[in-house]
Symmetry: D2
Subunit: 367 residues, 4 copies
Amino acid sequence: MAGSSFGNIFKISTWGESHGKGIGVVVDGCPAGLNLCEEDIQKYLNRRKPGQSKYTTPRSEDDMVEILSGVFEGKTTGTPISMVVFNKTQRPSDYTQIANYYRPGHADYTFDEKYGFRDYRGGGRSSGRETIGRVAGGAVAALLLEELGIKVNAYTKSIGNVSIDYDRFDLAMRDSNPVSMPDEEAAKLAAELLDNKMADLDSVGGVIECVVTGMKSGIGEPVFEKLDANLAKAIMSIGAIKGIEVGAGFEVATKSGSNNNDSFTTDSEGNVIKRTNYAGGILGGISDGSDIVLRAAVKPTPSIFKEQKTINRSHEDIDIKIKGRHDPVIVPRAVVVVEAMTAITILDMLLLSMTSTVSKIKNFFKE
Amino acid sequence: MAGSSFGNIFKISTWGESHGKGIGVVVDGCPAGLNLCEEDIQKYLNRRKPGQSKYTTPRSEDDMVEILSGVFEGKTTGTPISMVVFNKTQRPSDYTQIANYYRPGHADYTFDEKYGFRDYRGGGRSSGRETIGRVAGGAVAALLLEELGIKVNAYTKSIGNVSIDYDRFDLAMRDSNPVSMPDEEAAKLAAELLDNKMADLDSVGGVIECVVTGMKSGIGEPVFEKLDANLAKAIMSIGAIKGIEVGAGFEVATKSGSNNNDSFTTDSEGNVIKRTNYAGGILGGISDGSDIVLRAAVKPTPSIFKEQKTINRSHEDIDIKIKGRHDPVIVPRAVVVVEAMTAITILDMLLLSMTSTVSKIKNFFKE
Amino acid sequence: MAGSSFGNIFKISTWGESHGKGIGVVVDGCPAGLNLCEEDIQKYLNRRKPGQSKYTTPRSEDDMVEILSGVFEGKTTGTPISMVVFNKTQRPSDYTQIANYYRPGHADYTFDEKYGFRDYRGGGRSSGRETIGRVAGGAVAALLLEELGIKVNAYTKSIGNVSIDYDRFDLAMRDSNPVSMPDEEAAKLAAELLDNKMADLDSVGGVIECVVTGMKSGIGEPVFEKLDANLAKAIMSIGAIKGIEVGAGFEVATKSGSNNNDSFTTDSEGNVIKRTNYAGGILGGISDGSDIVLRAAVKPTPSIFKEQKTINRSHEDIDIKIKGRHDPVIVPRAVVVVEAMTAITILDMLLLSMTSTVSKIKNFFKE
Amino acid sequence: MAGSSFGNIFKISTWGESHGKGIGVVVDGCPAGLNLCEEDIQKYLNRRKPGQSKYTTPRSEDDMVEILSGVFEGKTTGTPISMVVFNKTQRPSDYTQIANYYRPGHADYTFDEKYGFRDYRGGGRSSGRETIGRVAGGAVAALLLEELGIKVNAYTKSIGNVSIDYDRFDLAMRDSNPVSMPDEEAAKLAAELLDNKMADLDSVGGVIECVVTGMKSGIGEPVFEKLDANLAKAIMSIGAIKGIEVGAGFEVATKSGSNNNDSFTTDSEGNVIKRTNYAGGILGGISDGSDIVLRAAVKPTPSIFKEQKTINRSHEDIDIKIKGRHDPVIVPRAVVVVEAMTAITILDMLLLSMTSTVSKIKNFFKE
């Protein structure tokens, strides 16, 4: 069944495998008149490209994006925007080893169960390279959100047991360390942890946090197309994500109502605000105008160099040692993917919210 | 925008407000030939109905379901199944107090922001009574899944800091205590905690766990309609849920790859199994045949009797004391709602998975 | 598969069988703040109800609609509007004769092939009574369109070989004759034709025309969600419709470009108009601001009293004579159904068109 | 709003403009295991490519398709199949003339009204070249249908007043004349007509007929996702189509029930058949196993060389003479487009029909 599209009004459809001819996305439903060029997209893609530190795959990819349609004289036309990154590294020989067994923690077995066979080269469609399409689409969404004063920023909150300290929080630092942490000290500790994991031939997980500022209230469509419900789907659809929470998240389980309710008041300009934001900016599935705050749990890289037990395609027990180039942590490169999926979801639901009242519709269409 | 439908092939569309004429659901896409009667649905609804213990609202509702269409001679016909629970308690007078201010932790403010006004009676559409439609629809899904050997069971994992002990786990006990815990001892401790919270005029949150047994492999449609992505949306769309995780969930953030990867092997009958199930039954968004395991974080009941600060519709700061009948915990009555949404999602995606290979399709249509 | 919903932003989900407990619709996505009461809906339903002339079934139904949700203090709240017409005539005994054979021109055979069995009472879900849900939903759409100055009017264009004469066209006459023709003279000729058909134990077909005035330009989403494409689906989904055309329709097949192109000019107020409207108000799938004009071909009532050949459920050849109460023509009662489906489609696509440019979106959200 | 996707289970998403970098399609939801190579697609594309006769644009395009993803070792993998035809002719200079006025019968005006501006080069997205993506997607659908014994064939039924004679019908002849008629004599007459139209600087319309053989019964999902409803949308979404009819089509308007009903019987092998097929293979929106027969009305090419009246972007009346290369008839090259859209719709709905009964589902999933 068709599963490679996301969004309603603003929709992305992605395609491509790790070692096929390329990876791409069709962005459909982008409003006309947005200034857009390849550099705008490339900036986002550069944040997830390989080879940027010793913790990321040294694959020699430029990952240069090309816009094939939907932009005319520097502006979006309202028609589908097709973007592609052609693969440069296509070395199927590297991967014949994994064609015949099922790597633990990977989708090899489930793809074979579902489709009868699989493109085993570099994980095929289940490779992390699949997210290129998401990021390119997310870059377009983020640009449009910025026109409305809305910004989406994700960053690494923790790697293993190393967490950022909010007293040292500096978003500007996020892109200047290899672990995408907005806290230089924590970033150093995380790097040490990764060095140790690499020495152990092992890997580690972490948490990504994403904050949306400048939100409008009234976004989200009860009772199934709630804003948090769609964000949860968007984030959980990213490979390696095993949990998603909004606002206080799982902490609500041990909280009392009296210290979880956010009380309303107004700021000095008379705007309605909440004294706290345990709700993470969403009440009843609808944005309340506060910042949206969400977190995603990222599992450790399943490709580790330690010996592991598994079975081959004949279902015989075997021991394997995975070779090749694998990051010891997925988190840093997934940060921009979380940002992209959040931006797409927020934009799509913002556009869907425009028809909530008769008076706003009448006002829109009046001459 | 239309937001009250869920599912693709097997779809529910719910309607109704807390104090309107009734609450209902249209189940569309249910295959023909399923034995179905009102008692089948009622069993599920009884698990969420009010007035069952001192911890649940003593609202005098029978919540009796009526099937209006889609069943003929005791079997589903393949056409839409319309079900309704007519409301008996319609006392708007109880609620005029809340018409003029915004309760902390509720959707009063966001509904007003979105729609310009709201049906304030008992929370209107954002009331917990909205879930009646979900549960009735979920009952149909669960019945059909049982025909395929698949069972969905949810239960309370924790309330506040009281968690079940898996050494004492007994699912049969779940419905014999007021907190829906499959562990009698933990249930007693949780009851004590609730007594204390009620004495404090406060409330508490908790965690619901849901397990799907008898799963088929190959269910889930990468890369956006992954099984876990759709489960995340389904669960997060339930009011009061602030987090959702699958398998090891947020624990993966501090795990190493070597102790998070599940190694494959075979059982004595030659079936592929995993030695552990940290993945929660899903790899790459596709079911692997192991049990699906997910958990949802439920916030404390926002309606507490303690005095709280908020604003009225004129945006003036006020202090309020909420009156009426409110449970000190949402978890126990939400257990069957989590079960219902899980069942609907699993069924819908199972039906969607039937077209994954040419050979299965040819086999299906051959004479 | 779920097939009983129509629309994206403004969506109807219908349910119910001819001789079940009732027929209903859930209207989801209706903007908040529309004045709505049962009388508004009833006016539309009365135009399709039985027993209004000797050419329509004398079934003793009042077909009184009841609104169960989504309206508060006389206004829509933005939440789903559930409406029901409870069936009064439930006489399954009348229909046992048809349980065992397949009526020519009916869906008896195809329902059995698809679902394995069928609710044979009065045609079950494939009865014309199914359209009650469409008409109730269409009434809501039409009310909202009127707020925007858009009107949808359908009428009988022809019955058999009797067509209206546009020189005598008077829409006000449409509801004062039993054949829904806006031409009293043609209506008399059509009535004579029907008398003859009834005497022959036979039936006849016809054409319904529908005109939308006050249209906005820019409605329709290329390349698959074009306005005419969605209108075609909407109309063709009505039982007994075998063809749909827009503007000059099938006549374009024999026209030259020079007499089919509509040339643009401006009216005295400077508005862009077309000198002719062969396009029927749609160019490239997008409305051009002229009237939308479409026509639907309606087949003769398949239930005729003449003896017919068919097979029974054992696939044996038999001769049958259909009994009961059947209109000699479907057209007049289908007029309001065409109007309803057109209104729903126009409204839904009008709402979808609001996000076509960045500047309109920015303007919408600016403080 | 995103409008460039079609289909549910088997879905195409198209992109590209006449004079952009290329035209493409992503086919999502194609089952795994279908043998597929570029030649399979090219065969279909060759039927619509320009420059094949004096009646089609002598644009020097090869229109060679490239498959970028979704096929591995000669078989589809179940993941999205991205296909592209890179444009060779990109001569915007040819088209600056049309940037400033609205061609009658074209979408220039409506695109400007909707999007604020347009890519005017060769019609941009509203060019007939947009259909390349449809045809490439349709080729995949047709290949899969053939595996199930289902064939889709369209042909020119008439051009202007020249119709094929069914006594001379020979489908094998369709591709050997420039007008795609399965009747050599009619083809010659049509060619003469086209010569005359060209001499007159004018154009002409026609009718395309499409027949699906080898159909299964039970395909189509009442009451809105009926097979004929979706076919109507599919066909009407093609540019220049102004009408669509099924079976007897608009002729039903003047028929009697007694000569429009198809009576059921059985053939010598005991299969249920209909003595006639006025229904065009669809009853109640569900296929009955007979051939599907539909017809589409195609308008005359709006680009004619005669002088025409219109307005410029400043809304001033002007006279224009369109230059460049334009076919005098759209019909022949649209034949394969009708075939493609029909194949996609039939396949998608066939896949959707697999979940109609509990017994078939149980049978599918039993070990």
